[in-house]
Subunit: 155 residues, 2 copies
DNA sequence: TCCAATCGTAGGTTGTCACCCACTATAGGT
DNA sequence: ACCTATAGTGGGTGACAACCTACGATTGGA
């Protein structure tokens, strides 16, 4: 007989802790899937940003996704050699490099979103469709609230 | 004017991704607080397990919390020198070390839970009490579902 | 009595992540 | 023409978490 593996109720009473646990588990599931294609979360994030908002200068991409510019350069590098994005010097400002999604990149993103959705199916297996919607909406509000500089954001 | 920092809707449509983002943020907030006391999440987890379930052998603790036994030894070490738990050889099986919470440990846990609750206040600031309850309940179900070996668990 | 298995422990390895610095190329004002 | 600021890039660093190994002490059964 194995020793009981039940988690301490005291911890499970803290929403932040629960959020942290579930986040870690979900992150692992998604990254494992992406690793099968030799990709990381940032690759998916960059593709999504480009598809959703159009071409970006590298700097703007790193600002939008809150990544260090030097790290962004490496991610773009890999996506470029794989043919999923294309680099092009900005004619107006030759310091800048405009990054654009290729058709291959769009296809890849679609497939990655499919995989992520499949992960959702597993993670949220016990919830009804309505509950999944509730959870998603609540998480979205928590997320956007964290991004807002607070009610007193002016300047 | 800064470049817009809005996240890609494509990503925000994936619940697992949202879970991962919020989990990371929550984890950072909690760990930062604990770091102020020179503690880590595992310290809190161990204290909670001991308070909730009573004394454990070290191995049982590591099983319950899914930590490597050698890592658990280090955590217990720190908690012991800080006086929050006490080690004692198991008389019946002298290989085993029984770990018990001290009064100091109970007090500490109470304070740590207070801190974690304070983090909840910040993270969930935009939600009503009812919504926080909903979110917590949904997260709990997702978590416990992930732990269960699935419906087809027999063996 | 002996032997395989188990417990705690010390130490090291690996991989990841975020961050930081230095350098070149370019821009844009004065 | 000069000088400061910015864009991209390569390389490195420190923190950290998960894991693995080897070892002495102890157990329990053959």
């Amino acid at each position: 007989m194995e020793f009981p593996t039940a988690a301490p109720p005291t911890l499970l009473g803290v929403t932040s802790y629960l959020l942290s646990l579930n986040g870690k588990a979900a992150r692992e599931r998604v990254t494992t899937r992406l690793a099968g294609r030799g990709l990381r979360l940032w690759h998916m994030a960059v593709l999504a940003a480009l598809v959703d908002f159009g071409p970006h200068a590298q700097r703007d991409l790193s600002v939008r996704l809150s990544v260090d510019p030097s790290d962004m350069a490496k991610v773009i590098d890999q996506l470029t050699t794989a043919g999923h994005v294309a680099r092009a010097r900005d004619g107006a400002d030759r310091r800048r490099v405009l990054v654009t999604v290729t058709g291959s990149g769009r296809d890849l993103l679609a497939r990655l979103v499919d995989e992520a959705t499949a992960v959702d199916e597993i993670v949220l297996a016990d919830l009804t469709a309505a509950e999944r919607g509730q959870l998603h909406a609540l998480l979205l509000r928590v997320f956007t609230a964290a991004r807002a500089p607070g009610v007193a954001s002016r300047s």
